[in-house]
């Protein structure tokens, strides 16, 4: 059944199983032998010489294309939210009273700096778009740099932190906008959107973009965590 030969300076075993001949190089026989030994001895340690599928140093192939596309769209969403809200400004001249024949006019401005929630919104979206840009750069250019899988851990943790940041900022700005749109009769706060409707529309658009960015960043964070917990198996054993 077994017959060993020397083919081109490498020991090769010819095995006859169930009517078929198999030529197996000797290195694989040695690997299989060692793996059976170690698996028989220890239950806890699952390291197998050469056949491990959860290697701490995985070979970094270029990333799956879908993650890059998601990060690009999320970057555009958060960047546009920052820019639209940062340029949100409206000036309106209102006639307050009429004294005699002259009219008393008052110029009112609505800027995003008047509300601390909107300031937080602009800053947080700016930081998240910087984070997305950094992740895109790491995706494209950094596939060779790694230190025993630290890159996956750092990417997953940073993604999770930025998702929490964006969710806080988007929600605070959304409730502020709701207050400005509907007012609150219990606290005697008037709504301001009927006078400054361009301000409200631009703010609403920035909020929608930020929420879309939030949903995409949540999906990206989930994919990063899954990648961290299940690193790709290496396939260099078949070609020793």
């Amino acid at each position: 059944m077994c017959h060993s030969e020397l083919i081109g300076q490498q020991m090769v075993l010819a095995i006859y199983i169930n009517g078929h001949f198999y030529l197996v190089p000797s290195k694989i026989i040695l690997f299989v032998f060692f793996s059976f030994n170690t698996m028989a001895q220890e239950n806890e340690e699952k390291t197998v010489v050469g056949l491990s599928s959860s290697d701490p140093m995985p070979i970094n192939k270029p990333d799956h294309g879908i993650l890059l596309v998601l990060r690009l769209v999320a970057f555009f969403a958060t960047a546009s939210a920052t820019i639209v809200m940062a340029l949100n400004k409206e000036t309106k001249t209102l006639v307050v009273a009429t004294i005699g024949s002259t009219q008393v006019k008052v110029t009112l401005t609505a800027k995003f700096q008047h509300t601390p929630a909107f300031v937080f919104f602009v800053i947080a979206n700016g930081m998240a778009s910087l984070h997305n840009l950094l992740m895109i750069a790491i995706n494209i250019f950094g596939s060779k740099t790694d230190y025993k899988g630290l890159k996956l851990a750092v990417v997953a943790i940073l993604d999770m932190l930025n998702v929490a940041l964006i969710s806080g900022a988007a929600n605070a700005a959304a409730f502020m906008a709701e207050l400005g749109k509907n007012g609150n009769k219990h606290a005697r706060w008037d709504k301001i959107c009927d006078k400054f409707d361009t301000f409200c529309n631009h703010g609403g658009g920035a909020l929608i973009a930020s929420f879309m960015g939030l949903g995409l960043m949540l999906a990206i964070s989930v994919i990063s965590i899954i990648k961290l917990l299940k690193p790709k198996p290496t396939n260099h054993i078949l070609f020793p």
Partner: protein
């Protein structure tokens, strides 16, 4: 499933119990914070219902409390841990958003907004403001603990931190 030792399980259950203990007071304090004052035969009252933001705060903290309670029992079985870590991220998101929104609106109640012509209301309703401040700080503690829970889960489950020889 990889090696999740007994100490890991005990520490996660302890962390989730502390998070549960932080969300419940914030719900209770926010719900019982109603106050009515009388000025010139008019009765003004302030409740958490009057502002949709505070209602959202109560609902989000209630979801987080219920989730913590359920996961304490689910985490005893090892096969659920990968789903649990993703749900933890979602609940952290929910908690940070609720605390952030409530703080934004409560600051208007405390300082007012002169540009929009909104007056502060904390001068008349001081007990209401104090209770809301207490509830928000409890919610903030719960958020921090949830971030720690997610980081600890990543530490347990990732192969980088449990590198095998």
């Amino acid at each position: 499933m990889d090696s999740i030792t007994k100490t890991n399980k005990i520490i996660t259950i302890l962390l989730r119990l502390v998070a549960l203990a932080a969300t419940i007071p914030s719900i209770v304090v926010m719900v019982i914070s109603n106050e009515s004052t009388q000025i010139f035969d008019f009765t003004f009252s302030a409740q958490y219902d009057n502002l949709p933001t505070f209602t959202y705060f109560v609902v989000a903290e209630a979801i987080a409390a219920g989730y913590s309670f359920i996961v304490i029992f689910l985490s005893l079985k090892s096969s659920f841990w990968r789903v649990i870590i993703i749900l933890d991220v979602v609940v952290t998101l929910l908690l940070t958003s609720s605390v952030s929104a409530t703080l934004a609106v409560a600051l208007i109640g405390k300082n007012g907004n002169t540009y929009a012509g909104w007056d502060p209301i904390c001068g008349q309703f001081s007990k209401f403001c104090d209770y809301v401040a207490g509830a928000v700080s409890c919610g903030f503690v719960a958020t921090i603990i949830y971030v720690l829970i997610v980081l600890y889960d990543l530490h347990i489950l990732s192969p980088f931190f449990n590198s095998k020889p």
